[in-house]
């Protein structure tokens, strides 16, 4: 690919990012409290530290496990999370959601800390189970709105980008100091999980 083409692609990507960030809420029949556009959905998953820690740690763990987990987990997570969101949206009760979310940060962080390498199926099942908790929590909180699709896309892209951040950080795994750094990050996530678990159980 020529350098000019790369520049053009980069320009288009920046234009896309700008256009996405400028998208406004639906103005037709708008009612206070309803969902807005892409940006509202994008902000939803990054509004809670417990969600952020868990999503980033999915990427960290995927990077530690390597192929095919590095891409299988981020492919699996959004669909299972959306299924949890679907259950939350239609009102299916899901007990212990906050505890489940806190446990996801705790256990995923511990997995990164211990450099745990379970079979791929077990890793996908564990991540999928936690995705259900996160999805249900988001789904139950989602407001009604006109721009359901743009909101959903923003929501899913934000989740995917959190995984991507985790994977990007996780690329340091190929160096010895990077592996120690990842373990330290896993310890941080696990401690965050302990805090959120305390909050969920006691508060």
């Amino acid at each position: 690919m020529k350098a000019g083409d790369s520049g053009l692609t980069l320009t288009c990507l920046l234009t896309l990012a700008l256009a996405c960030s400028l998208s406004g809420p639906a103005s037709a029949h708008i009612v206070a409290g309803e969902a807005g556009g892409f940006l509202s959905g994008f902000k939803h998953p990054i509004s809670g530290l417990d969600h952020i820690l868990a999503m980033v740690s999915v990427g960290l763990w995927g990077a530690q496990l390597g192929a095919p987990a590095i891409w299988l987990l981020p492919v699996t997570f959004p669909i299972v999370m959306a299924f949890g969101g679907f259950l939350g949206l239609i009102g299916v009760p899901f007990p212990g959601v906050e505890v489940g979310i806190a446990m996801s940060a705790l256990l995923l962080g511990a997995a990164v800390l211990a450099q745990w390498r379970p079979p791929l199926f077990a890793a996908a099942a564990l991540v999928g189970m936690f995705a259900l908790f996160h999805g249900h929590a988001h789904g139950a909180e989602l407001p009604a709105g006109e721009s359901g699709l743009l909101y959903s896309i923003g929501f899913v892209i934000a989740t995917g980008l959190l995984h991507l951040i985790g994977i990007t950080i996780g690329t340091v795994h190929k160096w010895a100091w990077g592996r120690r750094l990842l373990q330290a990050a896993g310890a941080g996530v696990a401690m965050g999980g302990v805090y959120f678990l305390w909050q969920a159980v006691v508060a």
């Binding site: 990507l13 256009a19 996405c20 998208s23 037709a28 959004p78 669909i79 969101g85 009604a144």
Partner: protein
């Protein structure tokens, strides 16, 4: 073939189209009026309706995963069926259920995420179902006169061009990373469809195109 050597340049229109779709504002009415006539109204309607544009883009990604033979058949299948479905919608004028966008996103996204090994005829069949259903929904909300048909014609032309641009930009990308990125995009499309389905079932939304 130049497209095979200049993916960056060819991806520019596709990205610009996606940017337009994502940056679209709220639906002010059921039809976009450009002042340039019904054909251009149809083009604008498609370009500013992500419920239509994203499934078509997803179909192009499916073609990008499967290869040129699949892409060519699907191109004509989706365009023709969109036109026929739109004409049927004009004649019957009975708005469909609000699940069309959610179900098509779920179907197309799921097939892309799973990298389903479909034959070219199976992809064409999926394209035909997608085009007919979306065309019908679009057509049923339009005036049942000649202007309505011209709007459907404009929509179909926009479908043809959009699909061709996205598929042409993706088909040359044969690297493993590009393959994974396409599958991840499929999982995002399917996840959005699933959320939209739940939202629709809850009755919290009213699809703009209807």
């Amino acid at each position: 073939m130049k497209t095979a050597t200049r993916p960056g340049l060819w991806s520019a229109p596709g990205l610009a189209g996606l940017a337009l779709a994502l940056s679209s504002g709220g639906a002010e009415a059921h039809m976009i009026t450009t002042g340039l006539g019904p054909v251009y109204d149809g083009v604008a309607h498609f370009a500013l309706t992500p419920e239509d544009g994203i499934p078509v883009a997803g179909l192009a990604v499916l073609a990008g995963l499967r290869g040129p033979a699949h892409g060519r058949l699907a191109l004509f299948a989706v365009t023709t069926s969109w036109l026929v479905g739109g004409a049927a919608g004009l004649l019957i004028a009975r708005p469909g259920e609000g699940f069309t966008a959610a179900l098509s996103l779920l179907l197309i996204g799921g097939l892309v995420a799973a990298d389903a090994p479909l034959s070219s005829w199976a992809v064409a069949a999926v394209a035909a179902v997608l085009g007919a259903s979306h065309g019908y929904v679009g057509g049923s909300s339009l005036p049942s006169d000649s202007s309505g048909f011209l709007i459907v014609l404009g929509m179909s032309a926009a479908v043809f061009v959009s699909y061709a641009i996205v598929a042409a930009s993706l088909l040359p990308l044969q690297s493993r990373l590009a393959h994974i990125a396409m599958r991840v995009s499929g999982s995002w499309i399917a996840a959005s469809g699933l959320l939209l389905l739940g939202w629709t079932l809850r009755g919290g939304i009213r699809i703009a195109a209807q």
